[in-house]
Amino acid sequence: MVVPTADSSDETLAARAAAGDGHAFEEIVARYEGCVFRLACRLTSETDAPDVLQNTFLQVYRNLPSFRGESRFATWLYRIATNAALMLRRGRARKPAESLDAFMPQFDEHGVHVDLPAQLQIASRADELIDRQLLVEKARIGIARLPDVYRDAFVLRDLEEMSTTDVAQVLGVEPATVRQRVHRARLMLRGYLSDLAGGKR
């Protein structure tokens, strides 16, 4: 059977859904439910992700008539999903996360890396050196230990692979701020992976 909506652009579907076409809305859900769930897990937890998922599509459904196509539909939807995740996280009493500062790279008084090349490259092979199940578990823990603003920028830019411009739009900050936050997150998580893989920072 040919499903005529399968080739429609997101924007066409959004317009049809806004006009009350239930099938178009279902197609939007089918296209994005997996992505939204994954994003929600990365920004919150697997426990909270189902709530984020429902809230996101509820908001999408209600706000479709006001989608004007000023940004791409995907960016618009990601903004809604991100806000749904951040709202839920805000409602949670946050246990103070153990800082990742100890994993930042170290330099001597001349600005030279303290660690040797063999130690510095270990994080590159973290996925070969660490058991897969353990890595999955530790990755979740490490990301959750980031300060919130670093976590949000890192998740959107590096895990969801959005452009820096789109992340800036979603988070409502300047692209330079996004770069700075993603950079700090990468440095911390790089050192964290290195530590897990048996290297140093």
């Binding site: 994954r38 330099f107 490259q121 994080a123 092979r125 890595l135 895990l159 790089r190 992976l193």
Partner: protein
């Protein structure tokens, strides 16, 4: 002319990879990294970090959660 150290070079990495550094700073950083084994190793691991964590956090939507979403949305649409 090249006064970039490992420490100051690391601070430029994100902007370097995004292609937003001024050309002369860009060239200085590349020259430092090319001549520095430690930075070469560091840059490789800095670049791999997002890929490794992306792969480790790629989850599928479980069928039961998908089904609850659909039930919820059908109720909303009524």
């Amino acid at each position: 002319m090249n006064d970039i150290s490992c420490g100051s070079g690391v601070e430029l990495l994100m902007e370097y990879l995004e292609g937003v550094l001024p050309p002369e700073v860009n060239a200085g950083l590349e020259a430092h990294v090319a001549a520095c084994e430690r930075c070469t190793a560091f840059v490789a691991s800095y670049r791999e970090t997002p890929r490794i964590l992306r792969s480790a956090t790629t989850v599928e939507l479980p069928a039961d959660i998908q089904e609850s979403l659909h039930v919820f949305l059908r109720r909303v649409q009524r």
